[in-house]
Homo-oligomer: 306 residues x 2
């Protein structure tokens, strides 16, 4: 697949539907080097997922039965929003662990929401059954070319905004976002994949030599808790021999607190996971290495203004 062409086409396709997200260069967080942040949490529905959702819907013929998706929350919210904007029906399956913020986000979009006991994998089972039964189109959260190309637009956009970095820190759940980065940059940047110790499907897959099932838990599990890494992500990661790191829940919540305390940026734990690899010292850049960090989501609970 010619990923550069796919991502460039995706950028054109979705440009009028997505929010171009700001970047800022800053110091702080206890680091002795500056970093550049991209504030993707200000994207529609509070995460990068809107990119993949719009790209999928706009590059396929959506059947009368509409759309179906399984999601830890952010993908479901994105599909529900994109479906509403484009006039399609959507049924979204989320696990209970999605939490009240994400569940209410999806409910408010007008989608047909189904809350499923258990974890992401259980929601996915039901979504697949619904797809088979109704002919609704499945919008995969991370392991589909249109999803990956959509997430890749985030990096095409960042590059056009003048990204000056040698190294990008990216949080990984099912791997759609980091696959988009690997597909876009094709070794032009060093990509550091960061996962929670308690939800590290990519890390485990790279260690085992192929995708394997992992247990998922922890503070970022409702966003990063994929049981098995996507094949597209795994193939890119293995081919490019990327650096895969894990961070503790304590490191994640500490980075999340620092983003609020020092920059008034309020993100969910997943949104602070990439930064946590720097603030915890899990990744130490070389002298002069320019580092950029993607803040990927901001759907915290409870509502901070409630």
């Amino acid at each position: 697949m010619d990923w550069n062409t796919e991502i460039t086409k995706a950028s054109e396709r979705i440009s009028s539907h997505i929010q171009k997200t700001p970047v800022l260069s800053c110091t702080g967080f206890g680091l002795d080097f500056p970093i550049q942040l991209k504030l993707e949490q200000v994207q529609h529905t509070g995460s990068f997922k809107a990119r993949g959702a719009f790209n999928t819907l706009l590059s396929h013929d959506v059947p009368e039965a509409g759309l179906v998706a399984a999601s830890g929350g952010n993908h479901g919210a994105a599909v529900a929003y994109a479906a509403h904007q484009l006039g399609h029906r959507a049924r979204i399956y989320v696990p209970e662990m999605a939490g009240p913020a994400k569940i209410s986000l999806i409910r408010n979009s007008g989608a047909d929401l189904q809350v499923v006991p258990g974890a992401y994998a259980n929601a996915m089972e039901q979504a697949q059954a619904y797809e088979a039964e109704t002919g609704a189109m499945q919008v995969h959260a991370y392991d589909a070319p249109a999803t990956v190309a959509g997430q890749g637009t985030c990096f095409a956009e960042w590059q056009a905004q003048g990204l000056e970095a040698d190294t990008l820190m990216i949080a990984v759940g099912g791997g759609g976002l980091v696959a988009g980065a690997l597909a876009w940059f094709q070794r032009a940047k060093k990509i550091i994949a960061v996962e929670p110790e308690t939800s590290c499907a990519l890390h485990a897959a790279l260690k085992e030599g192929s995708p394997v099932d992992v247990e998922v838990s922890g503070v970022a599990a409702n966003a990063l808790g994929a049981k098995r890494i996507g094949q597209i992500c795994f193939d890119h990661a293995r081919e490019q021999d990327i650096t895969s790191l894990t961070v503790s829940d304590a490191a994640i919540t500490s980075a999340q607190a620092a983003l609020w305390r020092e920059r008034r940026l309020l993100v969910e734990p997943a949104g602070a996971t990439a930064l946590a690899a720097l603030t915890s010292g899990a990744y130490r850049p070389a002298e002069g290495e320019r580092v950029a960090v993607l803040l990927c989501g901001g759907n915290i609970a409870p509502d901070p203004l409630a």
Copy 2:
């Protein structure tokens, strides 16, 4: 005074000490036109006040007795932070109404903090007494040329970032920020001054023909609750015959909620006050008029991550 020169000098003086803040263009908030936002709440200490504080400290000889300031909270936090960064002592007087977020921000900066019963004016009395007694240098929150020139750097920066707007919406408390805008743009942009109905010192002054004392209360009072508009601001506002509007507390909290719900930007009520003039319909731009909104502060209480 040659404000263009003063603000340009201030920009150079403070550039290594302040955070360049991002801008984003977006739609939403129930508006049928796009707006450009500048996210000044990500500034050091969570508001634009750091600009005026650094400019004041860096353009004066600070006495051995150090600095003194009275503040509703944000200015005090900025002076405390700048003093700490530059190695000066600082005593900060805040009224109880500053609230726990701002009081803890100042306390954590290492300043000598004095919490005073009553409102801003009471804190100011004590700050003046301390100045007279010790020879400490008073850093005025809004009505001093170095403060106004410092706040003006926000607009010089925005212009250099490619501001494309006919009209700027700016919240007003004591008037330092809007004076900086008026001093910088000198009629090149239409400036809309927005105040809470319950704290509207500029609005009252323009009506009366000179600064007058007003009562202050409401959700944004700990940031915008100046009892009397600064003379520098008043002179600029009268000379340029600016538009002065007021908004209700309900309009402010509604705009604040919309910023979080739609863009995951969490600001304090004062930070949403300028936007509230648009979302409430208090200001309706003409067809094709390009509107920009400054988000000026993000120090909400309670801590959203507590």
